[in-house]
């Protein structure tokens, strides 16, 4: 029977209250939302926070809307809500693709977008999806809010720019009319963490690629992305050979590690192959739009 060590529990009633609790308990407190990573880690005693600050009641972090040409995703939006949102489906097929392959319905009902990003697992699907979309993260602290590009949000495995005493409040993603996006993942079994996965965003004008975003996860791509491959795409035709070359360039920036999901060269191969596939699907969707 797995049981956690002793900890204090506080239920925050507002964002200021949550911030006050974080300040009171200091760096050994952890924020809990869906709890689908934190609670198992506590039961395995890989994590032993002194206090949990439960933010599940903070409805002000659960918004999902388009405002000022951007999609605003509150940190407390559940995976299932993102997946079911017609707004998201209309503009961000990549998020629907990614959410479909994140864990299982039970986890998605409870797990949150913000929690997934703050957990900062090096194999997190949403890190790659939002990196491909060039999203911004809004972080709230005692001194107010600051905006951080998602590509700079993660500082390493299980590390983010969110300081003790701060909360991730929301993600903001520019709505690009006419853009196509897609997410491709290889997993050993449904619901597993990816062996490797790639997301792509593509905007085509007059037959040429005018904007491209690539997100990669589980392959140690710095910032979960591949800027050089993105640059390569700009001004080129959306054809298979171009996507394949972008895939090769994306794979080149990866530094995957061997584990039971596969050896490093296989994962690097997948980074290229899945980038190619995601770009191709994104381009097709852009054309259909």
């Amino acid at each position: 029977m797995q049981v956690p060590a002793r900890f204090e529990y506080e239920k925050a009633t507002s964002v200021p209250h949550a911030l006050a609790l974080l300040e009171r308990y200091g760096p050994d407190a952890r924020v809990v939302a869906g709890g689908h990573s934190l609670i198992p880690m506590m039961k395995l005693r890989l994590a032993q926070p002194e206090a949990l600050i439960d933010i599940n009641d903070l409805r002000e972090l659960a918004h999902l809307r388009v405002e000022g040409g951007e999609l605003a995703v509150g940190a407390l939006v559940r995976h299932a809500e993102l997946l079911a949102s017609p707004l998201v489906a209309e503009h961000f097929a990549i998020l629907i693709d990614a959410e479909r392959v994140i864990a299982d319905p039970v986890v998605r009902n409870r797990g949150t977008v913000g929690g997934s990003l703050c957990q900062a697992d090096p194999s997190e699907d949403l890190a790659a999806a939002f990196a491909a979309l060039k999203a911004d993260a809004v972080v709230t602290g005692p001194g107010g809010s600051r905006t951080v590009p998602l590509r700079g949000f993660h500082q390493g495995p299980y590390e983010t720019v969110v300081e003790p005493g701060e909360l991730l409040a929301e993600l903001r993603v520019p709505v690009r009319h006419g853009a196509g996006s897609a997410y491709e993942k290889v997993e050993r079994r449904v619901g597993d963490w990816p062996v490797a996965a790639a997301g792509a965003l593509i905007l085509i004008e007059d037959g040429l690629i005018t904007e491209a975003g690539i997100g990669l996860t589980a392959v140690s791509a710095p910032g979960f992305t591949a800027p050089e491959a993105e640059d390569y795409l700009i001004g080129r035709e959306p054809v298979d050979a171009v996507f394949a070359e972008a895939g090769r360039r994306a794979a080149a920036v990866c530094n995957p590690h061997a584990d039971q999901r596969g050896p490093a060269d296989y994962k690097r191969h997948l980074a290229g192959e899945l980038t190619r596939r995601a770009l191709r699907k994104a381009a097709r969707r852009a054309a259909e739009d």
Partner: protein
């Protein structure tokens, strides 16, 4: 699906499902006793290390801790080591060394689970790490560290050598064969991973001296007898209760150290002690399955007539030899490996070795290692087909045993009871549309279709229902099973059986057997099992033996009741017993069917005022023990169709056709459910399940994050078919089916994937065929799936 209740065999909903669906099952962890304490086990982080010291003082000082038990404590009671089911010994709590990662080192008893777990962190163990044996192929090397230096004079890691079949004859055939093909293959270490982990609640009553143990055991009576023999407790003062079990699959046959610890904990504290292991503990320390390194060879004529098979096996049994199987057979029933084919001769050599891994080897619906045997022969058949350029279905059809050869004595001495194999394979091929599938595959290959299509077959023969007493026992206990049937005055019945359901639906199936034999509704039969104070002695449920053995006992005891009823009826109807005839549920006078008595009327009369015939004491109740004359031999033909993406290595199982022949089907719905589960197991083993270890002996599959069970998403909609060849020696012609699909399906899936990869010149790759392993195979890279990926 009919929901009406048949008066005997037929489809009906399971009687036990109402409580399971409504959350009213009663598992060990649901049992709460007043004053109950909780146990937790400290386990070794090392694969192999000497224990220099164990300091429990800080743990003992933690408020709420009631006892800390170490190997030293147990040594004082003579309980530090316990016998295994394979005549070895296993450490209950380590005294000298730890021999696998996850081995039991200390046991804490505390007021609640939290305190018990906190206390584990306060126990200080000083280890001196030792070199370990992780790769079984190095276990017998001169320089290998000796794992079992606790055994007198032990200087190596060798456990046993065992052989079966005719070596000389086999060698002679191989020498002159036109075609000889050899293939190394590994059946990797897997785990049954039942949803309910193991655990025990022990309650020793100091006043009465009675020990009650709630424990999810597949063999409650065997446990009771072993506790009596090992701990010296009088057997009548031990009661083992195996309540609802959340899956066993052979992993809940043996006695685990935690059970003994819970018992000792209760004796020491005078309170009931519950211990439930967590998922990682279950995967790391309880009975694994397989870990067979096999080199198979097949000899044949140029036109595909198989003449001989031989195989050398290196069997990794882990740190203690604790396989749960008939004692006489150290490699279980592996020697049934000549399979379903008319082969002149066969020979196998099996060498068992110790390694620094958890003990076990026989679990996970393996029918005492017939999974390994079937995988070997079915892979070899495909390897031969590959070399001969023959269609694998044609090769099988050409070599299958014919119906007129039964009963058939195999080259290794098995007597297959009945079968019509070509009929079953033909049905599977017809259901699959085999020729069409091959045509589609040829077309896709010709068109250069990037997505690869593969078609895989396997044909298996199982040997279940162990077994005849003269051949089969476990530590001297013969593998028979008992049944008692009590008929109440109103004609309702209670059947008590010695086997124990882990989800198989015994409460329904056995009620249907009684119903069929007695002509009453299954709703009127209650089946009692799992409590040694309530049921007759018998060896329990594993090796698909419930229906072949206990099912036979249930039929036989019901026939005894029917015979008694005949005597009572003869008194009631005032005719000679010989003048009565039986129609389902009723004895009536021959030639005068209106003149009769129903079983309910007879039951009432047997307890009533009617004058009973001499020798009939006044009830219909009966008991019996069934000692099976032979095993039963279910069989089946499986066809799997896959699509493989060579650029990612992903395998998609498109179709799976399974034609099973398990003799007479008592409840076809339950049979199909068993088959569905086993087919999913097969997909799991073939494509994802694996317990690998890194070079330091760290377990790389110790959670469901890493030990992957298949889901509905990976499983196609199963296409089932059946043929019925009754067992000639079983009272109702049933053969048992619990493990058939687990035994037969992995080879079909693997054969399908390798068939897809044929254009790359790949003849074999080991399970599990994960995306990365498929991709590596395509790259021509060697794979060792038992070791960490590097």
């Amino acid at each position: 699906m009919t929901t009406s209740t048949p008066m005997g065999f037929g489809r009906m909903h399971r009687k036990e499902d109402a409580r399971f669906i409504r959350g009213r099952g009663q598992y060990v962890d649901d049992v709460q006793l007043p004053g109950m304490l909780h146990g937790a086990i400290l386990r070794s982080p090392h694969a192999h290390a000497r224990i220099l010291s164990v300091d429990t003082s800080a743990a003992e000082a933690l408020p709420g801790v009631k006892a800390v038990i170490t190997g030293e404590t147990l040594a004082g009671l003579g309980l530090a080591w316990m016998p295994t089911l394979s005549k070895d010994v296993q450490a209950v709590l380590a005294t000298d060394k730890v021999r696998f990662q996850g081995q039991e080192v200390a046991f804490v008893v505390a007021e609640d689970r939290y305190i018990a777990r906190d206390a584990l962190e306060l126990i200080e163990v000083d280890y001196e790490p030792l070199p370990s044996v992780i790769d079984a192929r190095t276990a017998l090397a001169e320089a290998a560290p000796v794992i079992r230096d606790d055994l007198d004079g032990k200087k190596d890691n060798h456990i046993f050598d065992w052989e079966a079949g005719d070596r000389a004859h086999t060698e002679a055939i191989f020498e002159r064969a036109e075609v000889r093909v050899s293939q190394d293959m590994l059946y990797p270490r897997v785990h049954p991973a039942p949803l309910e982990t193991c655990g025990a609640l022990a309650d020793f009553d100091k006043v009465t001296g009675k020990l009650t143990v709630w424990c999810p055991t597949q063999a409650p009576h065997a446990h009771r007898t072993l506790y009596a023999m090992v701990a010296g407790l009088p057997e009548h003062k031990i009661r083992v209760i195996s309540p609802d079990i959340g899956g066993g699959f052979g992993g809940k046959v043996g006695i685990y150290p935690g059970y003994v610890c819970a018992i000792v904990g209760s004796i020491v504290t005078g309170k009931p002690v519950k211990w439930m292991e967590d998922r990682s503990e279950n995967l790391m320390s309880t009975a694994f399955a397989r870990d067979y390194h096999m080199t198979g060879e097949i000899a044949a004529t140029q036109d595909g007539r198989v003449q001989a098979i031989r195989v050398k096996v290196l069997a990794d049994h882990g740190a203690f030899n604790g396989t749960a199987q008939p004692t006489k057979f150290p490699a279980g029933f592996f020697h049934v490996f000549s399979g379903s084919y008319d082969i002149e001769t066969a020979h196998c050599e099996v060498t068992g070795v110790y390694s620094n891994k958890a003990p076990g080897g026989v679990a996970y619906a393996c029918s005492f290692r017939i999974t390994e045997a079937v995988y070997l022969v079915e892979r070899l058949m495909d390897v031969l087909a590959y070399e001969l350029g023959m269609d694998p279905a044609e090769l099988r059809m050409k070599n299958l045993l014919r119906a007129d050869q039964f009963p058939y004595t195999s080259p290794t001495g098995w007597e297959y009871d009945s079968g019509d194999y070509p009929r079953t394979l033909a049905l599977a091929m017809e259901m699959a549309g085999y020729d069409k599938l091959r045509a589609e595959q040829a077309e896709r290959r010709a068109n250069g279709d990037r997505r690869l299509m593969g078609i895989g077959l396997s044909f298996f023969t199982e040997a279940v229902g162990a077994g005849p007493r003269k051949h089969m026992d476990i530590l001297g206990l013969g593998m028979a099973d008992g049944a008692e049937l009590r008929v109440h005055p109103t004609g309702k019945a209670v059947l008590r059986v010695s086997c124990q359901s882990q989800g198989q639906g015994h409460e329904t199936t056995f009620a249907q057997i009684v119903a069929e034999e007695l002509g009453i509704s299954p709703d009127d039969v209650d089946v009692v099992h799992g409590d040694t104070d309530q049921t007759p002695f018998g060896l329990g449920t594993y090796g698909s033996r419930s229906t072949p053995v206990s099912g036979a006992a249930a039929a036989m005891v019901t026939r005894k009741v029917r015979d008694r009823a005949k005597l009572v009826a003869s008194a009631m109807l005032e005719v000679a017993p010989d003048d009565l005839e039986w129609t389902k549920g009723r004895w009536s006078v021959k030639g005068d069917p209106k003149h009769g008595a129903t079983i309910q009327e007879i039951a009432l009369a047997s307890h009533g005022a009617v004058e009973l015939p001499e020798g009939v004491e006044g009830h219909l109740d009966a008991t019996c023990v069934y000692n099976p004359p032979n095993l039963t031999y279910p069989f089946g033909a499986y066809i799997c169709v896959v699509d493989v993406d060579p650029d990612t290595g992903q395998v998609d199982v498109r179709r799976f056709i399974a034609v099973d022949d398990c003799g007479v089907r008592i409840n076809p719905m339950i049979v199909e459910g068993q088959i569905h589960g086993g087919l999913a197991d097969g997909i799991g083993m073939a494509l994802m399940q694996l317990m690998a270890f890194d070079e330091d002996g760290n377990h790389l599959g110790a959670s469901f994050m890493d030990y992957l069970l298949p889901t509905a998403v990976e499983c196609p909609s199963w296409e089932l078919g059946e043929t019925v060849t009754p067992s000639p020696h079983h009272p109702i012609g049933a053969k048992g089916v619990g493990e058939s699909a687990t035994v037969g399906s992995p080879a079909a899936v693997v054969n399908a994937v390798l068939d897809a990869l044929k254009p790359y010149g790949i003849r074999h790759a080991d399970m599990p065929l994960t995306p990365s392993n498929v991709w590596r195979a395509i790259q021509g890279r060697p794979i060792r799936t038992d070791l960490a990926i590097t």
